[in-house]
């Protein structure tokens, strides 16, 4: 379609690749905003998630709470904060941290919870301390899910920072907001393509990280096929695995 060739022509134009409004600058800004958001969100969400997963406590409170966080419309939040705090990076930063928290927290607690209770129990039995269990057993085994949570948070943050260009900020969203009223569809499409490509690259990177952090021993245990094998008898009452105290 014609708009695509225009968009690629836009992308090919060297004029769009230099200066303070050029693609590299906007890309860096976007990455910077995204990184900052993730760092803040991880710093808040990860400890909370790990704690819930490890102790099994607080789930009843935090899980519905993160559900409610998901319901908060980011655009409204950005505007609300912008009206309250004025323009600047803070309003969208706060709004996007809120957006990023639910997947990060959920990834962390469900990751820890997904670790076989029998393994955790065995670790305690041989003399791991509480924090030993968390850091040497639960976290390594939960890492793929933890990274998975951060991964989807990151995708959403990259996509949503474009909405925040509603305010006088840089980032790739600038190309979109500046294009909309000026009928510059080539730029609109080009901007979208840039965001998508960025998201894909980052996503691919995370996929790689996720693979790298999956413990080798866990990978080794995965079988591809559903066998006819009937399992040997196992215990039926795992209730004693419920941690008596954390």
């Amino acid at each position: 379609m014609n708009s695509y060739s225009q968009a690629f022509a836009w992308l090919a134009d060297p004029a769009h690749w230099s200066g303070a409004t050029g693609v590299p600058q906007r890309l860096l800004e976007h990455l910077g905003y995204t990184g900052l958001t993730l760092i803040v969100a991880i710093a808040i969400g990860l400890p909370v998630g790990l704690l819930i997963g490890h102790t099994g406590r607080g789930r009843e409170v935090v899980v519905p709470f993160t559900g409610a966080l998901r319901a908060l419309p980011t655009l409204g939040l950005v505007i609300l904060l912008a009206l309250g705090l004025g323009i600047g990076i803070l309003p969208p930063l706060i709004a996007l941290v809120i957006l990023a928290l639910p997947p990060i927290i959920a990834g962390a607690y469900s990751g820890v919870e997904s670790v076989d209770r029998e393994v955790v129990d065995a670790a305690r039995s041989v003399g791991f301390t509480g924090s030993g269990v968390l850091w040497q057993v639960e976290v390594p085994l939960a890492l793929p899910l933890i990274v998975g949570g951060i991964r989807s948070a990151c995708l959403q943050v990259i996509a949503t920072w474009t909405v925040a260009a509603f305010l006088p900020l840089g980032g790739l969203g600038r190309f979109l907001y500046d294009a909309l009223p000026n009928e510059d569809y080539a730029q609109l499409l080009a901007g979208s393509i840039l965001v998508i490509v960025l998201a894909l690259l980052v996503d691919g990177l995370f996929a790689l990280v996720q693979r790298l952090v999956t413990p080798r021993g866990v990978l080794a245990g995965r079988t591809a096929d559903i066998r006819t094998k009937t399992q040997s008898p196992t215990r039926k009452d795992p209730s004693w695995l419920a941690p008596e105290k954390a």
Binding site: V119, A122, P215, G221, T234, R235, E244
Partner: protein, 247 residues
């Protein structure tokens, strides 16, 4: 010697798992707990290394009340082997065996060297050292579990249905191996099973639990066999016998 004095365990949900248990487990012998599902065998076993704390009563090891011992340190001094081995899936075989030495802060190199020795002791081929648990057969995993239990040369070894999940042929092999090991190492072993035949095969002393967490009878295998204390004991032993023409 491990001694239970009027030990009761009631779980927070109200289940009475162990009821006023008095029991002496003699040193350097194999004591087997046997009984049907839910009779409290695991709970009693786990009270020895303070994975479960009693609601009432005292437990003494060599005369010392374990309630005064720090649970983590206590656990590191007691070997523990469980069904499905409970190995750490993200650590290799040697590292699994050396878990407790690592925890105690021993040098990695020394701990690994000792772990390799233990592999020979429990009859594991040295070539398996760098595999992950998932790459082993069930029987091999159980051997790793036993090796891990022995890694700190504990006086006490707790085994909770360690051979419950393996093939009958492999099971026979592991039982024979355990008998050999016990002759060599001479530990205080507490072994849980619900197979009366296994209990009689391995136990110097057998403790038969009744549902509700009480002891139905305690004694040597021949005592139980020849003088069952009551109908429950007789019936339980009977169920374990082959009912086919094998008998």
């Amino acid at each position: 010697m491990i001694e239970f004095r009027a030990v009761t365990k009631r779980f927070p949900d109200g289940t009475l798992a162990v009821d006023e248990l008095d029991l002496v487990i003699p040193p350097r012998q194999v004591t087997v707990f046997v009984g049907s599902s839910g009779s409290g065998k695991t709970t009693v076993l786990r009270m020895i290394n303070r994975m479960v704390d009693p609601t009432a009563g005292t437990i003494l090891i060599d005369g010392d009340d374990i309630a005064t011992r720090e649970p983590v340190a206590l656990r590191r001094s007691i070997g523990y082997v469980m069904q499905n081995s409970g190995l750490l899936p993200h650590r290799t075989v040697v590292d699994n065996i050396a878990t407790v030495p690592f925890l105690r802060g021993e040098k990695k190199k020394d701990a690994r060297a000792r772990a390799r020795e233990l592999m020979t002791v429990v009859g594991l081929d040295a070539s398996l050292a760098d595999r992950y648990p998932a790459q082993l057969s069930g029987g091999q995993q159980q051997r790793v579990g036993v090796a891990r239990g022995l890694a700190v040369d504990p006086n006490i070894l707790l085994m909770d249905e360690p051979f419950g999940a393996v093939d009958p042929l492999v099971r026979v092999e592991l039982q024979t191996e355990l008998k050999r090991l016990q002759r060599e190492l001479d530990k205080t072993v507490v072994f849980v099973t619900h197979d009366i035949d296994e209990a009689f095969l391995l136990g110097d002393q057998v403790v038969l639990f009744k549902p509700g967490g009480t002891v139905a009878q305690r004694g040597t295998p021949s005592e139980l066999l020849e003088h069952p204390a009551d109908d429950f004991v007789a019936e339980f032993i009977e169920a374990g016998r082959p009912r086919s023409i094998l008998r």
